[in-house]
Subunit: 339 residues, 2 copies
DNA sequence: GCTTTCATCTTAATTGATTAAGTTATATGA
DNA sequence: TCATATAACTTAATCAATTAAGATGAAAGC
């Protein structure tokens, strides 16, 4: 039994390769009778359709979209925000009969798969600078989500404005403020919880949100001492609790916690309540992202509500549209019992 | 600027396509001087090497090996056994300059990527029967790990014998035995913790280990009542605790817990200790797999120690070898304080 | 000086598909 | 009846590479 190809199948069926190809791809180009005969004969032979690699070479598109996750796969699949986003992506890709290839930013061998995919949707600024470099110069379509790359289309919310509004909604002129932030794009990730020595002009959400917080604080004539600013390497309960413990031990104790994710905010609240600190009387907390758990938790969390599922959908649409203009999605400021 | 291909680059440099190709792939086929000139000229032009899709079409190999994980990505990356295995795979693939494509068994669109990869290493029996079907008839090389597929090479340990030995090492003729097992290949996964109504002759590790346990029990003239046999949908702390709670509440209470994974065993021990049950006096526990945490835990766990990292390595080697005979890896019975 | 060897580069067939353009044969219209 | 339109297939160029076989010229051997 020789290899099954369009050619070999065409020869055994006594028709041209074009006809077999059309039977699979363009039903209108041949009679229904012949088409059915061909399809059933192929099934019989064990030929399951044109070779995708050859198809991709010829047509210039494989139907596969790679989604690059900034962090480890473990983080992404366990973070409700990220998995919501992925659900949106998956659904919208399926609608267009496209396939998803999940990629973690840490194992950054883009070049190995670049020629096999139609492009990249990159979720979150990658730690890996080499990856950023590769994405920048890639000839494929690249769409970024939650960060920017020069000359590339992006999907985002106005993080600066959202952070500004959320902070302004809780701040009072007499407050002591602590910020539980996310890592900055260029922050080394060796230390588990990092007090950022500085930040650059990169466009990660962490920078934008920090800018927003600081603008709101400046407007309230509040200043931030460096011990009150923390950058967590990942958005999870572990680091949230760690950082919360640290800032709640400071003198004077913060009266407001600005948290760059809901997971961080929730674990910080948990820690505060355990210490007997009353929310919102002694401590007000505001989060970011909008996850279901904040609604079930008591007290409910004030947060910037993003529509992560819709964001995934929007990302795919923007990717496919060919439009290179940056896209800003809506968000909602939702105030809860925590402020 | 037209598209950069071997042809276009060859034309602008005034040499043949073969020479460019050789510059990248077969340095011995041209003079060092010309090669360096070509390579630096390509870098200048922004041509980063031959198109992988075309390369793969022509040579019949892409250098990408897909690893299919039986369960969700979340489970796999958080399970120390699985991540050890993946590390071994990654390292060995890198050694052969091959690339890894991670795939979750749940999103089983093999056909979309099948033509782009050199084959599949499938870790653990997939829940998804359609996927098994696809793997069975795939024209690509398929290697299975921890389960068997008709006509395919596999890498495994002798699960039946290992389970038998581990059970025999702890059992006494007066014992009441409970088994905290893993899901069987055809068990529906709707119920979170499942008492298996039956099992088939499929070759999943759960079947093999169960067979081993039962053989050891039979040898000790012990019988198993169905309430004492649990099949957990996943190997994690959550289900382990749930199942442990259930069996420890039975009358008579089990004196031995045979657990099909160390994660299950550890959480079962945790639960038992919390209930004030003494280990090993009132309850003996034996696990399976061999993870670092069992050594740090007190009491240390008796378990079947597998070398998961080496297993990953062996899987890649067997995959590349072309040898179709099943491979049995060594394991060690390590007795701890729990028995 | 003439053949042989070898290194270096080129030619052209091939990989498995798509698709515009071309070829029949049949049906339609005047 | 004859030109014309349409449906149903086929031909052959093309996608971006690899590679066996061929060509060329210089060095080596006798």
């Amino acid at each position: 039994m020789s290899k099954l190809t369009l050619k070999s199948v065409a020869k055994t069926l006594g028709v041209s390769t074009a006809t077999i190809s059309n039977a699979f791809n363009r039903p209108d180009q041949l009679s229904v009778g012949l088409r059915e005969k061909i399809l059933s004969a192929c099934a019989e032979l064990g030929y399951f359709g044109p070779n995708k690699a050859a198809q991709s070479l010829r047509t210039g598109s494989s139907g596969i979209v790679a989604v690059i996750l900034s962090d480890s796969l473990e983080y992404m699949v366990s973070d409700p925000v990220a998995s919501q986003f992925l659900q949106g992506v998956t659904r919208e890709l399926e609608r267009h009969k496209l396939h998803l290839l999940l990629f973690s930013g840490s194992s950054a061998n883009l070049e190995a798969i670049s020629d096999f995919v139609d492009g990249f949707i990159c979720y979150g600024a990658p730690r890996n600078l080499g990856l950023i470099e590769q994405l920048t110069r890639s000839p494929k379509r690249v769409l970024t989500v939650d960060f920017d790359l020069p000359g590339r289309p992006s999907v985002n919310i106005d993080n600066e404005q959202a952070a500004y509004q959320s902070a302004l909604a809780v701040l009072k002129p007499t407050d002591t403020v602590a910020i539980l932030g996310l890592r900055l794009i260029d922050a080394p990730n060796s230390r588990p919880v990092l007090q950022a020595p500085m930040w650059d002009n990169q466009s990660s959400i962490a920078h934008r949100r920090l800018d927003g917080y600081l603008r709101a604080m400046a407007e309230c004539r509040l200043t931030l001492r460096s011990q009150y600013l923390w950058h967590l390497p990942e958005s999870n309960q572990h680091y949230g609790q760690l950082a919360a413990k640290a800032v709640l031990a400071l003198e004077p104790r913060p009266t407001v916690l600005l948290c760059m994710s809901d997971l961080i905010a929730l674990s910080a609240m948990r820690e505060a309540l355990q210490q007997g600190i009353e929310i919102p009387n002694q401590l007000r907390v505001v989060g970011f992202d909008g996850i279901e758990e904040t609604l079930r938790y008591h007290p409910t969390l004030s947060t910037v509500w993003q529509f992560s599922d819709a964001k995934g959908q929007a990302a795919v649409r923007a990717f496919l549209s060919g439009d290179d203009s940056p896209q800003l999605l809506p968000y909602e400021l939702r105030l809860g019992e925590s402020s």
